[in-house]
């Protein structure tokens, strides 16, 4: 598909904004909170992924420096755009940013060629938040991601020392057809530029499910030009070449940069007592996965309890598979519900679990634990390529009183009536009232076959309804004043008093998202 001239794109976006979207009269509430431009100060690593204007996979990972006074003093990024040739390193001219009291703000950058990059951000705190690309230029819109405060004293090869768990997702070009790919796993870094090895699981839309693969030694090095200033480096492992940006010694943002496709994701230093056998894995967990099935986009959110003996129970599961919704609750319908911690690769954090629903078939997953309470997860069920986050569920009886407060969120997915890619970030206050307890704002973009539409600063109202103590599926409904859709319906799984996982239940769009409590 030919790219539209930028002016045409902008005009089209304006028309789309005017002609579609929500019709509700919900003005954004006055920004409330304690955030200001001084809340964003220091070095921040960011990573985003999505599609470019032609519909091809795009991911960007980089670093920016905010001065706490509304100025981005320096910034750079690596960009992989599978329709644009080799990966590029982009250095930005000084830019600017704004922050409202609610933590919503906008970062405006221009590269040395004059190309603009506009990112709407929502601050979860001074040290992290979500990003949405909201410009409608040619660099590529439809990308969504996050940013984290960097520890500049960790901008050294010695900082990468220990076992890291990662989740990379993107697009593979190695098979007969371009298709989705997920890679999760464990690598060991020694602090001297050596990756001694690791174990990974690949689910590739062409090649299939790899099961556990032990990888050969690899290497990493800090970029001589940008390592000390932005924490940038390069790495080679598992047959791929990566650029990376150091957040700190516990978190690294990776971007695949080779001819085999494009993927990105974060690696986290393992910590705590990682179980090496089934008895070490107990308690309740919630997870969120997104990806593709044979019929199209898929997202699922669920929870279960591990008994420390290889069995799982208390399953609750919600899925949107190309507009087909399903909810599964534990009962006589569930069989073969079990898990196994990988003892062959003991200490890797790797495990598997599965269950069979009498109606919907068998669900099978691989996971790697970052800690006893968090990990990454991959759906390896037949006909699925998806991955996401696994988190311990703490608290057994959730209440609106306990959850009340300010939150930021992101949602991403596909409008399957048009196959437009939709991304959203936002902020809201959750009140302790039974209905209409959500009030805030969202920014959204819709990247369709005919161009980009941006929906900035839309007012939102909604209701979170907690069902039966809240540990399983809860009802979450949002109405937007001026967005892609006037309403959004979700099933929400509460992880703890600070985090919710969402899957959309609209039959014409597949959305997944996360909601995180703000702190200042």
């Amino acid at each position: 598909m030919k790219r539209l001239p930028w002016l045409t794109t902008l005009m089209l976006a304006a028309v789309l904004s005017a002609c579609s979207g929500g019709g509700s009269n919900i003005p954004p509430p006055p920004p409330a909170g304690g955030f200001s431009v001084s809340s964003l100060k220091g070095y921040y690593a960011f990573s985003m992924s999505g599609l470019d204007t032609s519909g091809a996979y795009l991911a960007r990972t980089g670093s920016f420096v905010a001065d706490g006074a509304g100025n981005i003093t320096s910034a750079m990024e690596d960009v992989v755009d599978l329709s644009a040739g080799a990966p590029t390193e982009v250095t930005f001219a000084p830019g600017s940013y704004s922050v409202q009291a609610n933590g919503r703000g906008v970062i405006v950058l221009k590269d040395n060629s004059g190309n603009g990059l506009t990112l709407t951000m929502v601050l979860q705190s001074s040290s992290q938040g979500f990003l949405l690309q909201t410009d409608t230029g040619l660099i590529g819109t439809g990308s969504l991601g996050s940013f984290n405060l960097q520890t500049t004293t960790d901008f050294a090869a010695t900082a990468l020392n220990g076992n890291y768990i990662f989740d990379f997702s993107g697009e593979s070009l190695t098979g007969a057809t371009p298709t989705v790919v997920s890679t999760i796993g464990n690598i060991s870094a020694t602090g001297n530029g050596i990756i001694t090895g690791g174990v990974i699981d690949i689910n590739d839309g062409n090649a299939g499910v790899s099961s556990a693969v032990n990888i050969l030694p690899g290497s990493y090095t800090l970029d001589p030009a940008n390592g000390a200033t932005f924490g940038r480096g390069t790495a080679v492992f598992a047959g791929h070449t990566f650029a990376f940006y150091i957040v700190d010694a516990t978190r690294i943002k990776f971007l695949q940069e080779d001819s085999q496709g494009g993927s990105s994701g974060d690696a986290f230093l393992q910590s705590g007592a990682i179980p090496t056998q089934d008895s070490g894995f107990t308690g309740s967990f919630a997870y969120l996965v997104g990806g593709s099935s044979t019929v199209g986009p898929d997202a699922a959110v669920a929870r279960f309890a591990a008994d420390g003996k290889g069995g799982i129970g208390a399953i609750s599961y919600d899925e949107n598979n190309n507009g087909s919704l399903r909810h599964i609750s534990q009962g006589s319908n569930i069989s073969n519900a079990s898990y196994a911690i990988d003892t062959v690769n003991a200490g890797s954090g790797r495990g598997t679990f599965t269950f069979t629903d009498s109606t919907n078939g068998t669900f099978t997953y691989v996971f790697y634990l970052i800690s006893p309470t968090s990990g990454v997860i991959q759906d390896v069920s037949s006909g699925f390529v998806a991955d996401g986050t696994l988190l311990a569920q703490t608290g057994s009886s959730f209440t609106l009183a306990g959850l009340a407060g300010n939150y930021v969120f992101n949602w991403s997915g596909v409008d399957i009536s048009s196959y437009s890619v939709e991304n959203y970030v936002g902020q809201y206050a959750l009140a302790n009232s039974a209905s209409n307890n959500i009030s805030g704002v969202l920014d959204g973009t819709s990247l369709g076959i005919n161009g980009v539409a941006s929906y900035p600063n839309s007012g939102v109202q909604g209701t979170l309804t907690i069902n039966s103590g809240g540990s399983a599926n809860n009802t979450y409904q949002i109405a937007a004043g001026s967005s892609v859709s006037p309403t959004y319906d979700f099933q929400a799984y509460i992880v703890d008093a600070n985090t919710l996982l969402l899957v959309g239940t609209d039959k014409t769009r597949v959305l997944a998202g996360i909601v995180s409590r703000q702190s200042q």
Binding site: A176, S292, N322
Partner: protein
């Protein structure tokens, strides 16, 4: 170069009443999550397009074509319409198509999922060999049209 589209209600009506050649016989008795794709089960359809829509209103959503074959009418799911458009693969009523794919359980039905669609000499892979919808990758740096693979 716009694809000729039939009104959705006509497509839906045809889909509702059509007697599928490969779909009905394999419809599962109970609703299931979409299942895996197996190359060993693949079949080939050859027929004439009765209707085409980029955005069906009944699951699975996406591009759908109603194909008149010698054995009857088959409702075929093509997947992401953006892939077809990006590859200038235009489908309209009256076209003769050759489609490789198979029925896959989905919900209470078993739609025929296309893996490769051929019109004349133009062939396009819309799914991988595992049945996962193909992603669009534009030609790099104007290097000419890149095949999405799957030439018959």
């Amino acid at each position: 170069m716009r694809m000729r589209k039939m009104p959705l209600w006509i497509v839906a009506g045809i889909a509702l009443f059509c007697c599928t050649v490969m779909g009905q016989d394999r419809t599962p008795q109970t609703p299931v999550r979409s299942s895996g794709y197996d190359l060993k089960r693949e079949g080939t359809l050859v027929g004439t397009v009765i209707a085409y829509t980029e955005s069906s209103t009944t699951p699975p959503l996406g591009a759908r074509v109603i194909l008149q074959t010698t054995g009857g009418i088959v409702d075929v799911h093509l997947g992401n319409p953006r892939l077809l458009t990006a590859n200038h693969f235009n489908i309209q009523a009256g076209d003769t198509l050759r489609i490789i794919g198979e029925n896959v359980a989905f919900g209470s039905a078993a739609p025929f999922l296309a893996r490769i669609v051929q019109k004349g000499t133009q062939a396009l892979a819309v799914r991988s060999e595992r049945g996962i919808p193909v992603r669009y990758v534009a030609p790099k740096n104007g290097a000419g049209s890149k095949s999405q693979g799957g030439v018959l």
